[in-house]
């Protein structure tokens, strides 16, 4: 109990009577839930509108936006049609060859591949910058960070030319290879590794560990919150890429989910139902991933004085 340190709330003063103790924690609880509820409303309202919008008939989506009533949120006619359409499970979706399931699988494959290689390559790179001895290391780090500084719109076409000259276009490789190392992740991990006490690796080296050994047995176990966080951010970054897959990949079989969603805007019509359903399908897996992973990066603080 005591070891779980207090971050946000007072520790009860030892001599306090059990009543003041109770009152204090009750006030803390009220404060926490009230503020939490306000934050929740600000965040959930737009999102709820999107989710419930995806469960409406398309013509309803913008029908009840105003005046503001409960109808603005709750569908008049509940319908799974938008989802069936985008998954190609309805006659309409089928006749137009919609297959968001495939797009989701493509995106998951590409994002997972990038995260996997990124965890290896970037951790090694960050270890280099945080711990190893090398001349002009500061300059090299600048060289790495500088790659983030130019607007992607300016380098997209040259990158496409590079990818074409390597004959990678229109393949999964075009979506994976350019991103297998990330300046953002390296820069992040340099900070997280920097926070690990140096004495730990020095001790390991005295015990005869190699660099790889230090990395495996000292750095990685101690950098888990940083690794998980950057992996998650890298995952959502690749997951949400739009312009690059649009330019680099043409074939429908390789389409990613963001491109598939964008394809529902045509010159003359916007298929809002499909866009809302697609957007729900695209965000839910990553939110679940976020939930599953949070024990790795959330510091648990047990509420003091709280019984049950």
């Amino acid at each position: 109990m005591l070891k779980r340190a207090v971050l946000v709330q007072h520790v009860p003063v030892p001599r306090a009577s059990s009543f003041t103790h109770w009152l204090q924690s009750a006030m803390q609880q009220t404060w926490f839930y009230t503020l939490g509820a306000v934050v929740l409303v600000i965040y959930v309202t737009p999102f709820l509108w999107m989710i419930l919008g995806s469960l409406r008939r398309e013509v309803e989506i913008f029908q009840y936006t105003y005046p503001l009533t409960w109808r603005t949120f709750v569908p008049v006619e509940w319908s799974l049609k938008n989802f069936l359409d985008v998954l190609g499970m309805s006659p309409e979706g089928n006749s137009f060859g919609l297959n968001f399931g495939r797009a989701l699988a493509n995106t998951a494959l590409v994002s997972a591949a990038v995260v996997a290689s990124s965890l290896v390559v970037n951790t090694m790179g960050a270890y280099f910058f945080a711990r190893l001895d090398f001349p002009r290391k500061g300059f090299l780090l600048l060289f790495v960070i500088a790659t983030m500084l130019i607007p992607f719109e300016a380098v997209m076409v040259p990158l496409y030319i590079v990818v074409r000259s390597l004959h990678l276009q229109d393949s999964y490789w075009a979506l994976i290879l350019p991103w297998y190392a990330s300046p953002f992740v390296i820069f992040a991990l340099v900070q997280f590794i920097g926070e690990i006490p140096k004495e730990l690796d020095e001790a390991a080296i005295i015990d005869g560990a190699s660099h790889v050994g230090v990395l495996r047995h000292v750095i990685i176990p101690n950098a888990v919150p940083g690794l998980v966080t950057t992996a998650l951010l890298e995952f959502q970054f690749i997951w949400n890429l739009f312009y690059w897959p649009l330019i680099a990949v043409g074939s429908k079989d390789l389409q990613t989910i963001q491109v598939a969603i964008a394809q529902q805007t045509t010159q003359t019509q916007v298929y809002w139902g499909r866009i809302f359903a697609g957007s729900v399908l695209a965000s839910v897996p990553v939110i679940l991933l976020f939930l599953l992973m949070q024990r790795y990066y959330v510091k648990g603080v047990v509420m003091s004085g709280l019984k049950g």
Binding site: F96, G138, L142, V157, H167, Q169, L246, T265, T268
Partner: protein, 462 residues
Amino acid sequence: MDAMWARIWAGFTVLLVVVLVASLFAGALTPAQASPPQVSPAASQSQVAQTKAKVVLKLLAITDDAQINAWKEILDEFHKIDGGKWAYVDIAFETVPFQDLFPKIESAVAAGSDMDMVQSDGPDMKHYAFYRSLIPLDKFFTADEKKQWLPQSIEEGSYRGVLYGPPMMQSCSLLMYNKQMTDAAGIKPPQTLGTSWTMAEALKAWQKTTTRPSGSSVPSVWGLRWGQGTWVGDYEHGIFRRSNGAKGSPTYNGVGPDGITFVGYMDTPESIEAMQFYQDLHRKYKVTPIEAIPQIFETRKSAFMVTPDNRIGELNRLYGEGKFPWGVTGIPYFKSQLCHTGSWHYGISPNTKHFDEAMAYVKFASSDAGARIWYKHVRQLPANVALLNTLPEYRPGASQAIWVEAMTKVGVPRIQTPGYTEYQQVFAEVSLNIIAGADVAEQMKAGAQRAQQLVAKYKGWK
């Protein structure tokens, strides 16, 4: 610590110098050198096996389910013509959303992609032709064959009098309305083109159909949405300024005869007067929302909408065939009535290695037979005169007849210049500023100057 930062700053300087010098040598990345004729395994096989092996034409097209189905059925029929001569041709579709087609084509051209056919937007044809991104197809069509299309389509598809691509279809924006709402307001929109409302007359109808619940300043139904979607493109919004000039006047022409002069054409007193009216529609009469609302007409929140006939297809999709009570009347005008025309064209890329096959496909697709299949799926005003004359819905007296009449009598192409994209960006920004309440004269004058600067690089294109 400071020594480390001194090193970093020194490194920073070195980095800049290295980058600048190296950039001079980075010429290896120009496509001409970077992509020597790449013979992919598939391509070399097809060359070895001569004609019988499968040829796959790469097609860059816009995302549109109905259009893709049309391309596919045309391909099926194409396989059957000339005794099955073209049965070895297949098409690989690459589709991108409308607003990304232009960047996608540019990226493909810049990287030397091996695409064969490109779906090209009418107003961009001169742009592509200027940059030699399309092959001129003029000599593959006889004068008689060219007569099968509307003259506006020929003008839009041509550059310096040479046809670069035959049309897929045509369009012309008219004033559609929700019959229930006009009936409720006791309004009978004119049913022939000749009796179309002027802007002042139409304004009365828009005011009458704008309904505000008692006690509220916000309409529950607006009178008007001018234009498809929520943008302010030149296709519909550019009509205001041109309509306020007499036929042949600088205001009506919209751009100088050289296709690059906007000062004296876009910022005339008539043009400014028209755009003042445009501002008043939003801010003074309040018959149309200042900030656009998605699907406003489709969700029965506006009584009138200026749109081409492709809206009918969407209404049918949303409500079921014929369930939405729409009507249509001529487009309102100040001095001269006009609707902007134009739609998509077939284009062949100079990078193609299968010109004969692509050309044969384009020729078939743009013929009567191809246009008929296209119409079956897409249901938009055909550019093919023979087809137009046989479709029942466009016959005199039928529900969509007024579109044909408007097309032939008041349909004019958008301003013809290779700098159309540049102009349209400026015009849309100016229009948004005007809606937001900026000074109209100031905006139109600055916009004309800016557009003229941006297109100055096309000097002498005609």
